[in-house]
Structures are given as structure tokens and as C-alpha cells.
Symmetry: C2
DNA sequence: GGGATTATCAAACGTTTGTTCAATGTCAAA
DNA sequence: TTTGACATTGAACAAACGTTTGATAATCCC
């Protein structure tokens, strides 16, 4: 093929795009900058990926496909351990948050890039990105929600959903710009220290789920068994 | 001056820019789209604000100046009530979160726009925006951190900082795209219902601050208070 | 009223963007 | 050696971007 480099052009493009999207967001990253970093002609992107959006979808799939699989495995193991009993909230949260953090350390040497990418995507305004991202994890999300509900049966569904969203907001926020977080906390919070981040989130939000209910709309006390989740639209 | 409209051109530009920035972010919003919505010539922006960045700074100042003042007033009142004693965590959090939510309802008819703007800004990748935003609230942030620290003296500073960032991450995430949140929760979470949002956040994160310490570099961790007993079943 | 200041406007500037296309190179099978 | 599929390239496209300019109205002060 050609002499210049270590990896295939396709991989080089994906690597460069991943970094660019993580640093600047989807809109902010430009193809010309990406192909320059990948040492590849501009048209190559269109040959392999069809469009900028196609490139982003490929970047997603490369990382999030395995990530999704890891979630399913972890959930399966979790359920096996539980043997039908409700799980400790800490266990659920740890299982839910660990795969993303593990990916961030595993995908060397791009760990921190992947980390920022996840944060950036989760909070990207663009509806196309939101849909792409959400589509990858819709079922996984639902699975975790069900486990949480089973372990906090006294908490109304609305409360669970609120606090569940808080978790992802906090997660995305922290992952999104680790350097900034480290700066403004005077070095006391370093998101690259995954174990600490994980422990802090688990501790904080497990307690959050144990906090008293807020919604007045009847909890599970209404009907003995609540439907797992009624509507989850598009 | 001229006939066409109700408000000054300057105000119309600010309104349109606010909405555009909230919807599309700073990079995503274009001046041409803004001036079209404001029914104003493109050069008018440069006459009044000098540049796109100047326009954004003006948008910030219009909303965040009063917001900052409101924070100081609320803090002052809070301290007066406390009379030197540590405040209940719920009170601190409610005081901290309410001004932004009040602004969102007060600035009619742009309430939800302001809300989205706050969320968008807090999670915008652009370092210029981050610095502009952070500069507006650096002292306020510090003030709340001190109150929290005083009310949770057994919690290491690192733990406080982590969970403090979680709060803003969750807040930004929820405010950023209320429509999306309402959709994916099947209508169960509606960020426009400010009282519920506030109550949920206060409940969740007050409990979060009461969760056991995680950092081993804890200052007061040896002070005979409880050590983490994370094995509480739900 | 007249001169200076303030507002407003249409038109253009030079970049940068995502995208397309025709041409060329590469390389194994026929 | 010819064929044909795959891979790569430079050049160009139209559109959108932030910004500047120079002229023209509107307004105010003396």
C-alpha cells in the first residue's frame, strides 16, 4: 500500500477525529484539521466514511460498541450475584459507571481523549449527536433504571428518573473537561484518578437515591408492583 | 429614531443573541441568523458590541450581573438567619440553586431561554466562555463552598469539591435541554417545573454531602465520627 | 439653521467550511 | 501484460462565516 506510517489510514482518521471531537465538539472540529493530524488527504474521509456525520458515527461505533457489550456482561454478572434479590445501590452505580472509566484507561494511549469524548457527547446540544448517542445506550439505560427501581422500591419513579439524570449530568460534566476541573479545584479533584472519581460518585449518588422521596405522585405504595417503565419514547 | 418596533435595537439584538446562544451554543449561533431574528442590520452588532465575543459578554452581563447580586443578598440573609451556627445543608443548597431558577421564571417571556443559556454556558467547551462565566461567579462559588464546609466539617475538602462539581454538572445538564429530558423520561421530569427540580436536587445532594467520606486524606476523618460503613442495605 | 455626533445601511472583504469530481496510483488476478 | 477493483490525490465548488468599510440618514447641541 503506502509507506508512511504505522496504522491504516482509516484508523489514523478515526484517532484524529476522536481527539478533535473530544477537544472541540462535533461542530467545532474541522475535517481539514482532522486530515492534517491524520496525514491523509481530505477526500479520504469521504471515501471511507461518506460524510462528516458518517465519520462521527464511526468514531462512536468503534468505542461504544464494545462499551455496550461490556455493560451487558457486567449486568449479567451482577444479576447472577444477586440471585433475584435487590442489589445494593452502591453495586449498581459502580457497575454502571465503571465501564466508561475502564474504557478510558484501556484505550491507551488515547485514554483521556476517550474520556473527554464521552463527556462531550453526553452534553452536546446537537440533536443528531444526542440521538446517535442515545440510540447506542437506550436499552442499557433502561436496564440500570430497572435495577435501581428494584433496589429503591419506595422511591417514586419520577424521583428515580430525576436523580438518574443528575448522575449523567455530573458524569458528563466531570469527564468533559478534566483539566479545567483540576485547575479550579486547585488540584484536589483529578478526574484522571478514576478510582477516586468512581468512589466519589458512588458515595454521593447512592446516598442521593436513599434520600426521602420528593414527588407526591404516588410511589410504589400505590400498586404493589409497578410496571418497570411505561413510556420511553423515541 | 425609527418606526419598526417595540424595543431598542440593542435590546432586540441581545434577546435574539440570548436565544441563539442558548439553542446552538456560541460557535453554533451565527450573527446573520441573530440579526435576522432581531430585524437589524448585520453591522449594527459591531456598532454596539464590537464583535461576536463582545455580544456574548453583553448577553452574560445583562443576566448574570443581577443574578450575582441576588446571590449575595441571599447569602447575606442566610448568614443572618444562621447567627454564626452551621446551616442545614438543605438550606445552603436551596439558596444556591434558587436564584438561577428564579431568574428563569422572572425574565419573561424568555424564561426557558435563560434557563437553557445557563445550562449551555456551564458546559460549553470554549475556554473563552468558561473563563467569562467563571469570572462572573468565582467569589459566589467560594462563598457557598465555605458555607458547605462549615456545615459538613467532617468531610474532607476534596470530597466537598467533588460533590460540589457534581451539583453543577447535574444542574447544567438538566437546564441545558429541558425538552430532551422531558422526552426521554416520558414526561415524568419537566425542568420547567422549577419547584420540583429544586426539591429533587436539594434532596439528592444534601444526602450526597452527608454520605461518608471517600478521601483518605481526610482532615476530620479521625475525629471519632463514623467511618464509612457502606454496607447499608437499601 | 448648521456642524458634529450618533445610528443605520448595503455591499463587499478574506477565510473557512463540508463536499464533489475527475484523474491518478497501487496491486493482485487473469 | 492487460484488466479491474480498490485506494489516494489535488483542485475546485458553493455556501456560510466574522468582520470592515464608506456612505447615508437621524438626532442633538450651540
Amino acid at each position: 500500500m503506502s509507506q508512511p506510517s504505522e496504522q491504516s489510514r482509516k484508523t489514523r482518521i478515526l484517532d484524529a477525529a476522536e481527539r478533535a471531537f473530544a477537544d472541540l465538539g462535533f461542530e467545532g472540529a474541522s475535517l481539514r484539521q482532522i486530515v492534517q493530524a491524520a496525514r491523509v488527504n481530505l477526500a479520504t474521509v469521504y471515501y471511507y466514511f461518506g460524510s462528516k456525520e458518517g465519520l462521527m458515527a464511526a468514531v462512536f461505533e468503534r468505542r461504544f460498541g464494545p462499551l455496550r457489550d461490556e455493560h451487558w456482561e457486567a449486568l449479567q454478572k451482577l444479576d447472577k450475584e444477586a440471585q433475584g434479590y435487590p442489589l445494593p445501590m452502591e453495586k449498581i452505580l459502580e457497575t454502571m459507571l465503571r465501564p466508561a472509566l475502564r474504557l478510558a484507561t484501556a484505550a491507551a494511549p488515547q485514554g483521556r481523549t476517550v474520556m473527554r469524548l464521552i463527556g462531550r457527547i453526553a452534553s452536546d446540544p446537537d440533536p443528531r449527536i444526542q440521538e446517535l448517542f442515545r440510540g447506542q445506550f437506550r436499552e442499557v439505560r433502561q436496564a440500570y433504571l430497572e435495577r435501581i427501581h428494584r433496589s429503591a422500591p419506595e422511591l417514586p419513579e419520577a424521583d428515580i428518573l430525576w436523580r438518574f439524570e443528575f448522575i449523567w449530568g455530573a458524569f458528563a460534566f466531570v469527564l468533559c473537561n478534566p483539566a479545567k476541573l483540576e485547575r479550579i479545584t486547585g488540584g484536589m479533584c483529578n478526574p484522571a484518578d478514576m478510582n477516586t472519581l468512581l468512589a466519589q460518585m458512588v458515595a454521593c449518588f447512592a446516598a442521593g437515591f436513599r434520600a426521602p422521596a420528593v414527588s407526591r405522585t404516588g410511589p410504589a405504595s400505590r400498586c404493589g408492583k409497578r410496571r418497570p417503565n411505561a413510556r420511553d419514547r423515541v
